[in-house]
Symmetry: C5
Subunit: 108 residues, 5 copies
């Protein structure tokens, strides 16, 4: 289990690629980062060619943080981006390697 955290800035999407060694990603929390505007900021998630989905929407001076409980174990790319004039910090953790893929077996 290892801590994971990123800051997503407007116009700079973050691409998460599954990594066997790190394992499944648990997304736990979103928190508003830098930005002076009072406009809301939204975390958007794109998985391969599916439609973009809003994961959360944060409101400056009203609700600047929220819990999430979403897990990613896709082999496709997952892209996180922010809509709105703030950066957003995402945090969570990797579960680490699965017990049944620890090298004892001849799995490819």
């Amino acid at each position: 289990m290892a801590f994971w955290g990123i800051e997503i800035k407007p116009g700079e999407p973050y691409v998460h690629q599954y990594d066997d060694e790190k394992g499944r990603l648990h997304l736990s929390q979103a928190t508003l980062g830098s930005g002076k505007s009072k406009e809301k900021a939204v975390v958007v998630c794109n998985v391969s060619d599916k439609k973009p989905i809003y994961l959360c929407s944060l409101l400056p001076r009203k609700m600047e943080t929220c819990s999430l409980n979403i897990e990613f174990e896709e082999y496709d790319e997952v892209t996180f981006s922010v809509e709105g004039p703030h950066s957003i910090h995402l945090s969570g953790f990797f579960y680490g390697e699965e017990p049944n893929s620890d090298g004892d077996d001849y799995e490819s």
Copy 2:
């Protein structure tokens, strides 16, 4: 485990049908989508012939996202709809096939 996300629009209910391969659905988060009104938007859930149940109620500019922690493993249809003038994005994940229903056994 695979990411799941949909956008439910007013007047366009979404029907979820259980799928053995995808497995149990964990509904994790609801987030307000597009819409200019300040009126609240409610996620309503219908399972077969039971009475409709409100899963959450989101308020523009006040509380635009909330965590859920509801799991669906029904063989009956589950219908999600929205009451109010906004779309709502739902996100979560499928647990994948159950270990004891993986085809090794002669289960019916």
Copy 3:
């Protein structure tokens, strides 16, 4: 695992009785239902002869939904009621029968 949802109306308490087949009840979410008042509405829980406990308090136009994470496996009756001029929708799920009480064994 099966979805569970009820609407509790003012003056109409709901009695939950444990059922072996349905199993443990996980209470996941409370959401404000119908009602025009701006007064708060509180979910109250009574287990047998213990003192009533407030499980959550919802505020119209401010905080109309909240997550819960409470489990009931009592053989005593559990009564949910609402204090205030709104109905409240509760949702969650049953875990289903316990593996070690599935009838294969001669348990009493």
Copy 4:
């Protein structure tokens, strides 16, 4: 698993003592109780001789309930008290006896 709930009143701390039969305590939710003031109310936790820790802070008419996810399995006393002019209801559940202390041994 058994429901647990208490109301903590200002000036009347509640002492929780671990009990093997009831097992680990999961603290799930805090909800504002009676009191007319608009001042905030804070749940404070004291474990043996460590410094008091605020578990949550509730605001009348703004945020009257919150989820917690804290577990207690201490053999030392745990004291819950409230700072502020409201009572606070805490709810959660006991996990029950651990499987490895289920009667294999000659426990009394």
Copy 5:
């Protein structure tokens, strides 16, 4: 499993060092502590040489507490600090020793 709680004061970061005996740390809740300002206070997390990540942002008189669900099992130092004019109380628990590192085996 053992309760964990600290108060982080502005300008006084807290360093968490992994301890085999205590095990993995589950961070459950953040609550605003002392301070008169209405400015927000942010919990910042630094893991070794990675960029600082905001874990949550609390707003006096609006949202003074929030749930977290982050776990730390790093062998690197984890530093928690607060940005803003309030102290913040963090609470959670240690999972205790892992079953497979209990000294029965000759693991290195």
